[in-house]
Symmetry: C2
Subunit: 389 residues, 2 copies
């Protein structure tokens, strides 16, 4: 196990009706906030009314900044920073999924920073302070509700980049599984792929031994695999959604990568995809991950055998680790297909003509590789993209 | 899954040599602290010197209060409170196992409280503030390094009682598995029993469904069962100790009882044992838990089957849930015996003459039952104690 330092201070309010505690939760931090959300679905579902009623009753006033799109844009972040400075706002309430929360995190770090907030994404600066931040989660997927990271897209150059800081952990996050039940099926499936990818990125590590976190990641994966098909249905799916929503937060809250270094190349490759093609992050991940796995399988074949047997219940062929390991990858693909997710780029409508460009944006030819489990250079990334076509 | 609110703010420093960061960690909070420890073993191992050197280099001054004994005493807590008030100390550094950390927690809550700190143990008051607290852990067992609870023994009446408050989460805890490697074998085994008991108390619940936390508890149990025998050996056992030490913290940090209500009767019964006989808490738990399990097995037989199959790899008898469930309990007993732990009271030298007295102190005849999974009254507690003889 690697040495580590870990602290996740986010306060989780979990369960039915918890969004009615929003005002009380916000009021512990501020009474003059930015209310940040997406395209307005929260108005259709009635969530907007419940939240603003709760804010009002707690004496909290707010300025609204809607309009966050999937793959949240730098320009809206910059507008949020301007508004917060102008109105002396010191707390942001994000109501939505990972994109809204990520956008709020970038605003929170940007308000006290004198330079351009994009500097954080280019490692030119590190956040030294941030204003407060809370979230009401509507889409279990990104795990941003309990993580210290954010992903932002810069329109110019179609660049999608992540940055992180312990200052970005939300002060609180409100998770009511009922709020996820109105999501369209494709978005539910994409969320499942996203949280599974967060678990897989952590699972593939050269840190050794890491038995406890291996087993805990496997536990969360099995729970997601068991409950995923249930939340694709209609009807009373609260219990299954509760498992999925809490799994999505735990997958990305940092506890499962204590003492181990995850890979994260697939996420970075996907960022190039969705930076250009604006596909859903989870769908990009499901189209890439199995191919990445086949490309790197010989780095630690036994680890692929372990996940096949323990998570996918593959009947182990003790004479052939290869057969067992590949059967695990096939089970993953089959599971994602059963949810209606793509496992190739073609299914996403992505053609083969810009693979080299994406590979080049993602990794250098001899420097700046992606990935920790296996270091991938441009030619490797291009090969994986070609396999994924 | 039950609704819940969860926040664990303890910052964990984990790994080799981490105790050398003590001064830096403390310095974020205070430069005038109480250094609280036990019987002086930290001087023999050299830990005392490393920690005080680290404090000195960070400009931290300290007042020492050694002498914490297993089952920490109220009188020493009261002395600690007096010293902190007298010297305007606002932070306690606990160096030791659960007893030292629990004693420090009681002091931390007692300093700003006008009444007697024992009030918290009798539910006559709830801590409303507390001074700061950090820990350097030397015994993986109690989980107090990352929990919000403390257990204190009042000499008068031989009463051992727990209290809790989110104010009691340590600000930080330093976990270096190397520090556990000098423990005597019996103490290692008692620690393993203690952390397993924390997992079992959480496992047996009527909250349903709770798949994610079931699977995560199982993951931690399997890790402890796999690594427990290794840490009983001498030689280079760092890797196994790392799994055990982090398991012990996670077992009790609150994350594994999110959305579920654990039982905790066995802990309360054990408090009566060790209140009178001063046995090691872990040994008391190993002597009681299997008997509690047999007494309550029909509350949810399927849950006992689940743990038998998933954790103990019992070959399931699909025609007999009883056989499968009991085989799981026997596997637990066998495991504990293999570590040299008692599974009866007789092995602890506890005679049968005060069982009724202990049962009466623990639970009422028709009110104040113990346990959430199954409510136990005096006659039930007495029956379990008799089974355990």
């Amino acid at each position: 196990m690697d040495n580590f330092i870990f602290r996740n201070p986010t306060k989780i309010y979990f369960g039915k009706g918890m969004e009615n505690s929003t005002g009380e939760a916000v009021g512990e931090f501020s009474h003059n906030i930015l209310l940040h959300y997406g395209g307005g679905s929260i108005k259709k579902t009635g969530l907007y009314e419940r939240i603003t009623a709760s804010l009002k009753s707690a004496g909290v006033t707010w300025t609204e900044l809607p309009g966050v799109m999937p793959n949240p844009r730098l320009s809206l972040v910059q507008e949020g920073i301007r508004i917060c400075r102008e109105k002396n706002i010191d707390f942001i309430l994000a109501v939505g999924g990972g994109s809204v929360i990520d956008s709020a995190k970038a605003i929170a770090a940007g308000v006290p920073y004198e330079g351009d907030v994009w500097d954080f994404c280019e490692n030119k600066a590190v956040p030294e302070e941030a204003i407060g931040l809370g979230a009401v989660l509507t889409i279990p997927a990104a795990g941003s509700e309990s993580s210290n990271r954010a992903v932002i897209t810069k329109e110019e150059g179609q660049l999608k980049r992540a940055f992180g800081s312990d200052l970005l952990y939300p002060d609180f996050s409100i998770l009511n599984p009922e709020l996820a039940m109105t999501l369209p099926p494709y978005q539910r499936a994409c969320g499942i792929a996203d949280m599974m990818a967060h678990l897989l990125e952590r699972y593939f590590t050269n840190s050794s031994p890491v038995e406890l976190t291996d087993r805990m990641i496997e536990a969360v994966l099995k729970t997601v695999i068991h409950n995923g098909p249930s939340v694709m249905m209609d009807g009373d799916t609260y219990d299954a959604w509760a498992e999925i929503m809490w799994s999505g937060a735990i997958a990305h809250n940092g506890s499962l990568n204590t003492g181990r270094l995850g890979d994260w190349a697939t996420h970075q490759i996907e960022h190039e995809l969705s930076g250009i093609y604006d596909v859903a992050h989870g769908a990009g991940l499901s189209a890439l991950f199995p191919h990445w796995m086949r490309y790197v399988i010989n780095q630690d074949l036994k680890r692929f055998v372990q996940i096949a047997v323990r998570v996918w219940n593959v009947d182990q062929n003790f004479k052939s680790d290869e057969e067992t390991a590949y059967a695990g990858i096939e089970a993953l693909e089959q599971f994602w297909r059963s949810l209606g997710l793509p496992t190739t780029l073609s299914e996403l409508g992505i053609p083969g003509d810009r693979l080299e460009e994406m590979a080049g944006k993602c990794a250098g030819e001899t420097e700046k590789p992606q990935g920790q489990f296996v270091k991938l250079y441009k030619k490797d990334v291009q090969a994986i993209l070609e396999m994924a076509l």
